[in-house]
């Protein structure tokens, strides 16, 4: 029942928003201010016929998704081990602090010139998305390791576990919920970098590329289709990962963000 009610509320919300948009469009009388109907038409055309190069929306989206996944997995593979190390060892953190702390404030966009010069092909996309993913995952992993209950570590010690055993059997499971939340946030920031990555990627396929191409033509209806699709896919992925977290960590208090 509550499920039905939520569904109904959501539908009404979206309908109201679209109606408002249509009304504003009507009064602005501008060729640039696109309307829901135009966006829907563009959506239909992009997904059936394809864009100006004949590439369908699905193909663009799929390609971008795998690019994000590629950079994201690299992000996880590097940020999680480093986060565990820096979380466990204050000395290691002290050593790397002067590099890591400033580096995380450099926006991925600022790295674009370097990426263009030093990388090509798939690596360029992966690098920009890796940048977007790496720091959120690193910081949450470190926080997760810091939050490990010292008293549980002591239990492991009284059973004479080796440091490696205690990391594997206490630190990692204990910080896993933090790492999973970090991964979810990292996937979000990774997605947010896709347009930047595809601006410089050179290939003509990809949702970000599509947005840039139509932007140059001032075809805002198609641009908005791209924006909405990115937003919805990100939302769906986030919900999926949230459900995964709840399933994996029932012993943790509820996560919602």
């Amino acid at each position: 029942m509550s499920f039905l009610r939520t569904g109904l509320t959501r539908t009404l919300q979206i309908a109201a928003l679209l109606a408002l948009w249509q009304v504003v469009h009507f009064f602005t009388q501008s060729v640039f201010f696109t309307s829901p109907t135009e966006v829907f038409k563009a959506f239909w055309q992009l997904s059936t016929v394809g864009d100006m190069q004949g590439i369908t929306l699905q193909k663009n989206l799929w390609t971008s998704f795998f690019r994000v996944l590629h950079g994201f997995l690299w992000g996880l593979a590097t940020a999680v081990p480093l986060g565990v190390l820096l979380g466990l060892s204050n000395r290691a953190y002290d050593w790397l602090k002067i590099v890591i702390e400033p580096a995380r404030f450099i926006p991925p966009l600022a790295w674009i010139p370097l990426a263009i010069i030093f990388l090509s092909g798939e690596a360029r996309y992966a690098f920009i998305i890796w940048l977007g993913t790496f720091f959120p995952v690193l910081i949450t992993t470190m926080a997760g390791v810091h939050s490990v209950d010292r008293s549980l570590w002591e239990v492991g010690k009284t059973f004479r576990g080796s440091t490696l055993q205690l990391i594997w059997k206490i630190v990692l499971p204990s910080s896993a919920p933090h790492i999973a939340s970090g991964a979810r946030l990292g996937l979000g920031t990774g997605w947010a970098c896709i347009v930047a990555a595809e601006m410089i990627g050179g290939e003509s396929v990809g949702i970000g590329r599509m947005i840039v191409n139509y932007g140059e033509l001032i075809r805002l209806d198609a641009v908005v289709v791209g924006m909405i699709v990115i937003g919805l896919l990100g939302y769906a992925l986030n919900e999926l990962l949230l459900a995964f977290e709840r399933y994996c960590f029932p012993w943790q208090q509820k996560v919602t963000l």
Binding site: L152, E154, V155, K157, T158, R160, Q165, I170
Partner: protein, 246 residues
């Protein structure tokens, strides 16, 4: 055979301001094989510190602790501990929690399971082997923690106010169950508590400690058969005797 001997144990701390505080002042004590010893005293008398030093989680500033004549350096395979908090791993089932120590010691899966189920049965938790800690009550979690300590078959079981966080009724019940476990398992137990009636109900020997600095005030041998009647005149007499130091 397991004899736990404390010789000239001292422990001093340095505070943030740089002052030296004597927490334990020259404690000498022998815990005989199979005996049940309670360390009783107000907070600050060093009873928990003494227990943690026995478990290898703290180091005495001077003096030695030996088990069967061998000095204890760090944690010891023959010494198990139950803390005031259950300290169960929340992501593991109760059975997997009990298996934890065996797992760290690389014991095979079949043997782990067999032993875990045996001790879960001993503490009356067989039905909950597949539950997670958050699904259990405080008393049940503490029973699981006792099973986890027993499964490694320690000669000496240390207990640091294990029932301190439980409600009064559960606490009495747990004391009775622990008496049964002690009678059946016949392991040496060193039990820290600030509750005099708990110590008289459980122990063969009550070690009364006084605070600042922590010192042994008196050793009281409780010469009563188990299980004991909490309201019996002899029990009350022992309680009075110990209470006199508080």
């Amino acid at each position: 055979m397991s004899e736990l001997v404390y010789t000239n144990i001292n422990k001093t701390f340095t505070t943030v301001r740089g002052d030296t505080v004597v927490a334990i002042d020259n404690i000498n004590l022998t815990v005989r094989d199979g005996s049940f010893v309670c360390l009783v005293g107000k907070s600050g008398c060093g009873k928990t510190t003494l227990l943690r030093m026995t478990a290898g989680l703290d180091v005495p500033s001077s003096g030695s602790i030996t088990l069967n004549g061998e000095p204890i350096h760090g944690t010891h395979p023959k010494i198990g501990i139950v803390f005031q908090e259950d300290r169960l791993l929340p992501w593991r089932t109760i059975q997997k929690n009990v298996e934890f120590g065996l797992e760290l010691a690389h014991v095979g899966a079949a043997e782990r399971k067999e032993k875990a189920l045996h001790y879960l049965d001993l503490v009356g938790l067989s039905r909950f082997s597949e539950a997670h800690p958050h699904e259990l009550s405080g008393g049940m979690k503490q029973r699981a923690a006792i099973a986890r300590a027993l499964v490694n078959e320690p000669e000496v079981l240390l207990m640091d106010e294990p029932f301190g966080a439980l409600d009064a009724q559960t606490r009495l019940q747990m004391q009775e169950e622990l008496t049964q476990i002690y009678l059946r398992e016949n392991r040496t137990i060193v039990f820290v508590t600030h509750s005099v009636d708990e110590s008289v109900f459980l122990a063969d020997t009550v070690v009364v400690l006084t605070p600042s600095p922590g010192k042994i005030q008196e050793l009281v041998a409780i010469d009563l058969t188990r299980p004991r009647d909490r309201t019996a005149p002899e029990v009350i007499r022992y309680m009075r005797k110990i209470m006199a130091h508080f």
